[in-house]
Symmetry: D2
Subunit: 381 residues, 4 copies
C-alpha cells in the first residue's frame, strides 16, 4: 500500500448515518474504539489491500447547516455514539464540517448547472486534499418513487433535455451524474433512484467509473437473507411473511410519507421471492414512531409448512440502532469502491450485493452466498 | 438404481417421531402427500441416486406395546398428521406394527445377551424382507447423562466386562452395538451416548459399517446455526444468547428430568462458541409444559454490539411441531446412511453435520457450510 | 325462572362466528362440553336469572347457502371446534339450518320492503317457535365506512326517503330497522353502522326495545383494556402504541378491503386515548394472511416513560382463534339483551361496554371498570 | 400540612435503587424533572395529605463505601438517569452520602449489639435532622432463603437467644428489628425475610409501629396482576404460564445465586394461583446476563383455553429499567408508611399490596382491586 489517500464524499453529510460515519472514523483512527462492525476488517479481506481507515478523508453535500458537532451530541444522547467520545472527536468533526458544501434541491437551479456545480465541489475537494480517488456515497433522505421520463432512457436524450432547460432527474440521480462527471465512483445506500437509469449507466461508462447500490441491508432484510435460505435448505415451505418496522428519527419521518415508504417497501419485498423461488403472501409496514428516535424495532411473523403439510410459525423482533448498523457499511463500501476504481473496474458492481436490499446487477439475495462472492471478488488479483 | 430395498429400523419405534415417520412414508408413497420437508428430495441431491422412498421398509424396537394406529390417531388429534390421512395409512401402519420387536431396558437381561438378541432381530428383519441393507436410527427417549466406565475406552475392555456379566453401557449404546453386530449402519437422532464411545467406534470398524449423529437439529439450534454466522459475517459481536424451550409430549416429560435435560442443554450449547469464536454468556432452559403436547415454543434473546460498541438485541420465537420437523430428517438420514453403506464407507460420517446439534467428527456448525459439505459428499462419485 | 324460550337471530348466520355459536350451544346443552368462555356463567351473574342456555333457539339471515354442517366441518379442520363434536351436533345444526332465511343485499329490493320482509322473518320465527322474546345479533361481514345521508338524522326523514323509493341505509342498519320493527332487541357485534343513527335510535324508542354494540372486543383490544389502565395506575406515561393484526378467513378477506379496514381500525383506536387521557402515537394495521385461517396473530409494541423520563418498552403477541373468542360473547349478549327486554329497558345499553371495542353510550374502556358496571347492572333488581 | 420533615432511611443505600431514589428526589425537588412514575402524585391520593417530596430527608446503611456521585454517574452511563442531571444533583448526593452509616453483615458483631448500633444510627439521624418520623426501607441485596430457627417464633425466645450470644436472624430481620427498636416504620422492598417472623411482628407491636412488604412489584409480576384477572373476567382458563427473566447489574449477580433466586421465584409464583383460583403449570427462571446491566428483559408465555376447549396462547416481552421502576415506588412507600405512622396505625399494612409481589396480610393480587384498596385506605379520615 502506498500512502495514497481516498476521499469519501457523503450526500446527506449532516444526517444521522453520515455523522456516525464521521464520528466513528475519527474515534477509531484516534484509537478510541475498535473497528467493530466493519466487514472490511475481517481477515478474509486482508488480501484485498484496501485503503487504510486513516487514509480516508471526509466531505460532502447537505441542504441543512446544522454543525456536525451538534448532531454528534444528539446522537450521543440517543445512545448511538458513546458520550465519552464527543470530546475526542470534536476537532476532527469541525474539520469535516468545513468540507461540507451546499447540496442540491429540486427547482433551486437548472439541473445541468447543478451537475456542474456539484461535480466542481467534488473535484475541488480532491484537489485541496490531494486525493488519489473519491467515492461518493448517497446517505441523504429517501426520495419518493420517481415518475418515468423519456430522458431517463439514454444519455443523449438526457443531455438534450438538459440543453432544453428541463430537469428530468430526481436529486439522487443528479448527485450520481455529478459524481460520474467528476470521475468519482458512486454508491447509493438509499432506495432512491441514484445511478439506476440507462442514461446514467451510460454516463458512468463514458467516465469509466464503477458504481453500486442500492439500499443498505441493515436490519429486518438482513435477517431475512439468512432465514429464507434456511427454510429452503430444509425443504420447509414458507407460506407467509409479514413485517412491521417501527422507527423514528429523520428517516422515520421521511418514510412516514406514503410515497417514500412505497419505495422502501418495494425494495424490501424484492428479495424474498428470489430466495424462495415462489411468491409469498405478506405485507411490509414502515411506521414512524417519533419516540423511538434512531432505534428501529422490526417484528416479522412468518408461517411455513413441513412434513405432510403441517403448519408452523416463527416470529422475530429486531431492535437495532440504524445509524450504528449503517455507518460501518458505508465505510466498507467506500473502501471497496476505491478498490474497484483503483483496479480500473467500471459500471455496476454486482459483487457488492452483500451490503444491499436491492443489489444492482444481481438476483442473489442469500447472505452467505453474497459473502462468498464478495470475498472472492475483493481478493481476486 | 436397482430395485434393492433398504430397511429402516427405528429404536423407539412407537414414539411420536417414529410414528410420524411411518405414517408419513406410507402417505407419501401412496401419493397422499408431497415429500415436503425432505432434504433428500432437493434437486441438488438428485445426483446421489438415493434409495427411492418406496423402497424403504420399516421395523424397529420399542419397550411399549401401543399400536401404531392408536399413536397415529393421537398425532392427528394433536395436528401433527392430517386427520384425513388416518384411513389411508392404517393398513400400512399395521404391517409396520408387526415388524416391531421388544426392545431392551437396563437390568432386564445380561447386556451381552441383549446385544445378541437385538442384532438377531435386525438380521431376521433383513432376511424376512429381503433387504439389501439396514439402517438403524435411534429415536427413543433421551437418556440421562452417562457415568464414565473403563469398559467404554476400548472394545476388548468392553468384551471382558460383558464376559464378566457386567452391563457398562447405556441402552442407546447397546442398540448401537446390536446394529454394528448385525452389520447395519447406525445413526443417533437423540443426544444419548449411542455409538460415541471408543469401544463402539472399534466395533463399527470391526464390522465395517458407517455411523452418524447426534441429536437432530430441528428448532432453536437450527435457527442459531444461521443467525450466529450472520452476526459474524457482519462483524457484529454477539454478547449474550439466552434460550427457553417449552414443550410437552413424551419428549417434554423426559427432558423435565434434570439429568436428561442436562444432556440436551449441553448438546445445544456446544455449537455457539464454535460458530462465534468466543464463549457467550447465556443459559438454555428446557421446560415441560404438558399443555403444549408435541408443539414446542422456543424463545431466544440475544444481545450484540456493533460500531463503537453500541448495544442492540434480537429475539425470536419458534413455534414448531417437533415430530413434523424430525420425521423427514430421519428418512433423509436413512437414505444417506444407506448410500454410505452402499459405497463401503465406514466409521463416523462428519458430512452429515447438517442434520445435528452435535455432529460427530466435525466442529462446523454453520448451516450453509454444512449444506455445502453434505451436497458435495452425497454427490461425489 | 319460567320455561320461557328466547330466540337468538343471527345476521350472518352461516359465518364462522355464527356457526361456532350454533355448534357450541348444541354441544354444551348436549353435555358434550363445559360452558368455558361464557361470562354469563360466572357466579357473579347468577343473581341475574338469565335465560338458561337450553332455552335459546337459533335462527337467522345470511346471503349464502352453505349448509351449517359443512361450515362446522371446515371449522373442525381448522381446529376451532373439536373433531369429535361433529357427529354429536349435526342433527341440531340441520334444524338450525332450516331456520335461516335469505338475507338482504344492497340493491336487491326496495329498502322499505326489505325491512318489512326481514321483520316478517323474525316474527314468523318467534311464532313458529313460541318464543317469549327474540334478540337479533349482527355477526355478518363488516361493511365499508358509510357515507352520511340526511335521512340518517331523523326517523321521519328516513321514512320519507323510503316512501320516495330511496335506500339510504347500509345493510347493517336495514337489519337493525327490521329487528326493531319486529319488536326484537338488537346488538351489533361488528363495527358496522347498525343501530347507530339517530333515525334508528328513534325507531328503537318507538318500538320500546333495547339495543347494544359495537364491535366485539376479543383480542388485541381486550388486552389493551387492561394494560393501558395498568400503566396509568402506576403513573407510567405511554408514549406510543403500534399494533399489527394478521388474520385470514372470511373476516381477513373482508378487512383486507382498505375501506372496511378503516372502519375496524378506527373502532380499535378510539379507546386508548380515553383510557390514558392523552393521544398516543401509533398506527394499527390489519393484514389478510390467508394461511392463518380463523386464527389471528396480533403483535403490539408500546413505549412508555417512567421516573426521570427513562424510556422502556413492552411487546405482546396474541394468538387467538377469533371465532372461539367471539362465539361465547354472542351467547352472553343474547342472554343479557333478553334480560334488558324482559325488564322493559329500552334504548342503548351502556352497561354492556365490557363486550365491545366501541361501546354505545359510554366512554369507559377499562375492562375491570366495565366488568363492575356490567355485574351491577345485570344483578340490579 | 405542617412543615414536619420525614426521614427515609435506606438499607442498601448505595445500591442502584437507592441511588436512583436519591438522585431522582434531588432532581424533582430542584425542578429538574416531573414526578413521573410516582403513584402518590395521582389526584386520587391528593386527599391523603402525604408528606411533600421536599420534606423527605435521606440517609441509610450500606456495607460498601462507593460514593453516591460515582454510582449516579454509572447509572447515567447505563441510561437510568439522564446525563444532564448529574451536575444538578451532585451536591445533594454528597450531603446524602454523608448520612450513610456502615451496615451490618452476618458474623461481624453480636446480633443484639448490631440491633442497638443500627437503631442508634436511625435515632441519631432523626435527631440531627429534626425529623418528625423515620421510615426504613430495605433495598439491599436479596438474601438466600432462610433456615427456620426456634427463636423466630416469639419475641421472648429471640431475646433469650440474643442474650445467649446467638445470631438467629438474617440481616434483613436485624434491620427490621433496629427500625422497630428506634420507633421507625419499616418496609421491605426485597423478597428477604425482613419483618416477616412472629418475633419481629411482636417487636413492631411493642414499639407501636407499622410495617409493610414484600418484594416490589415492578415488571413481569405487575403485568401478570392485570392479565390473569383479564382471563378470569372472560371465563378463559389459563393452562400454563412460563416466564424467563434476564437481568444483569448487582441484582442480576445476586439472583444468579440459585438460593436467592429460589426466594425470588417463590415470591413471584405465589400470586398466580390466588388470582386464577387453580394451580397453573409453569416455571419461572431468573438468569444473570451481565451485558444487560440494570435493564431487565422478561418473556412470558401462557396458554389458555376458551369456548369448547380451544387452545390459544399469548406471549409478552417486558423491557424495563428496574431501578427506574422501583425508585418511585420506594418514595411512594415512604410517604404512605409515614402516613400510617402519623395516624398511629401499627402492625402489618395489607392496604399496600398494590406495591408488592408478596403482600403481607393479604391474598389479593389483582392490581386494580389493590389500587382501589390503597386509595380507600390512604384517603380514609
Ligand atoms: N440507517 C440504516 O440502517 C439505513 C439502511 C438503509 C438505507 N438507509 C438510508 O440512508 C439514508 C440516511 O438515513 P439517516 O438516518 O441518516 O437520515 P437523516 O434524515 O438523519 O439524514 C438525511 C440527511 O440528508 C439530507 N438531505 C435531504 N435532502 C437532501 C438533498 N437533496 N441533498 C443533500 N442532502 C439532503 C438531510 O438534510 C439530512 O441531513 C436514508 O435515505 C435511509 O433510508 C439507512
Ligand atoms: N422431535 C425433535 O425435534 C427431536 C429433535 C432432536 C432429538 N429428538 C429426540 O428424539 C427422541 C424421540 O422423540 P419423541 O418425541 O418421539 O419421543 P417419544 O417419547 O414420543 O418417543 C420415545 C419412544 O422411545 C421408546 N423408548 C423408551 N425407552 C426405550 C428403550 N430403552 N428401548 C426402546 N424404546 C424405548 C418409548 O417407549 C417411546 O415410544 C427423543 O430422544 C428426542 O429427544 C427429537
Ligand atoms: N371473531 C371476532 O373476534 C370478532 C370480533 C369483533 C367483530 N367481529 C365481526 O364479526 C363478523 C363475523 O365474523 P366471521 O369471522 O364470522 O366472518 P365470516 O366472513 O365467516 O361470516 C360472515 C357471514 O356474513 C354473511 N353476510 C355477508 N353479507 C351479508 C348480508 N348482507 N346479510 C346477511 N349475511 C351476510 C356472509 O355470507 C358470512 O356467512 C365480522 O364482521 C367481524 O368483523 C368478529
Ligand atoms: N428494582 C426492582 O425492580 C426491584 C423489584 C423488587 C425488588 N428489588 C430488590 O431491591 C434490592 C435492591 O436492588 P438493586 O438493583 O438496588 O441492587 P444493588 O445490588 O444495586 O444494591 C444492593 C445494595 O445493597 C447493599 N448491601 C448488601 N448487603 C447489605 C447489608 N447486609 N447491609 C446493607 N447493605 C447491603 C449492597 O452493598 C448494594 O449497595 C434487591 O434485593 C432487589 O431484589 C428490586
Ligand atoms: Na453459504
Ligand atoms: Na363510546
Amino acid at each position: 500500500m502506498t500512502d495514497e489517500r481516498t476521499g469519501l464524499w457523503l450526500i446527506g453529510a449532516r444526517g444521522s448515518v453520515a455523522t456516525t460515519v464521521a464520528a466513528g472514523l475519527a474515534l477509531i483512527t484516534a484509537g478510541g474504539a475498535a473497528p467493530d462492525g466493519l466487514v472490511t476488517e475481517q481477515p478474509e479481506l486482508a488480501g484485498a489491500h484496501l485503503v487504510p481507515l486513516g487514509h480516508l478523508v471526509l466531505g460532502g453535500h447537505d441542504v441543512t447547516d446544522v454543525p456536525l458537532v451538534k448532531r454528534a451530541a444528539q446522537l450521543a444522547d440517543a445512545g448511538v455514539i458513546p458520550h465519552a467520545a464527543l470530546a475526542l472527536v470534536s476537532d476532527e468533526l469541525d474539520r469535516t464540517c468545513h468540507r461540507i458544501r451546499h447540496g442540491h434541491r429540486d427547482g433551486e437551479e437548472r439541473q445541468a448547472d447543478a451537475v456542474e456545480r456539484l461535480a466542481g465541489d467534488i473535484r475541488a475537494f480532491a484537489e485541496a486534499e490531494s486525493l488519489a480517488r473519491v467515492v461518493v456515497v448517497n446517505v441523504s433522505s429517501t426520495e419518493p418513487v420517481v415518475v418515468a421520463h423519456p430522458a431517463h432512457a439514454a444519455l443523449d436524450a438526457l443531455e438534450q433535455a438538459w440543453a432544453a432547460g428541463e430537469s428530468p432527474l430526481p436529486a439522487s440521480s443528479v448527485y450520481a451524474a455529478a459524481a460520474f462527471t467528476a470521475g468519482a465512483a458512486f454508491v447509493d445506500f438509499t432506495p432512491s433512484t441514484g445511478a439506476r437509469l440507462p442514461a446514467l449507466e451510460q454516463l458512468a461508462q463514458r467516465h469509466g467509473v464503477p458504481w453500486g447500490g442500492s439500499d443498505g441491508k441493515t436490519g429486518e432484510t438482513l435477517v431475512k437473507s439468512v432465514l429464507a435460505p434456511m427454510f429452503a435448505a430444509r425443504s420447509l415451505r414458507v407460506r407467509s411473511w409479514a413485517g412491521t418496522n417501527l422507527l423514528g428519527g429523520g428517516d422515520g419521518a421521511t418514510l412516514a410519507d406514503p410515497e417514500a415508504m412505497e419505495s422502501k417497501a418495494r425494495s424490501k419485498a424484492r428479495g424474498l421471492e428470489a430466495m424462495l423461488g415462489h411468491p409469498v403472501d405478506g405485507p411490509v409496514h414502515i411506521d414512524n414512531i417519533a419516540d423511538l428516535g434512531d432505534w428501529k424495532t422490526a417484528w416479522d411473523h412468518l408461517t411455513f409448512s413441513g412434513f405432510l403439510g403441517t403448519r408452523m410459525s416463527m416470529q422475530f423482533t429486531w431492535q437495532g440502532c440504524d445509524s450504528s448498523l449503517a455507518a460501518p457499511l458505508v465505510i466498507d463500501l467506500a473502501r471497496l469502491l476505491d478498490l474497484a476504481a483503483r483496479r480500473g473496474e467500471t459500471g455496476p458492481l454486482p459483487a457488492l450485493g452483500f451490503f444491499f436490499k436491492d443489489p444492482v446487477g444481481s438476483d442473489e439475495h442469500r447472505l452467505f452466498e453474497q459473502h462468498r462472492i464478495l470475498t472472492e471478488w475483493a481478493t481476486a488479483s
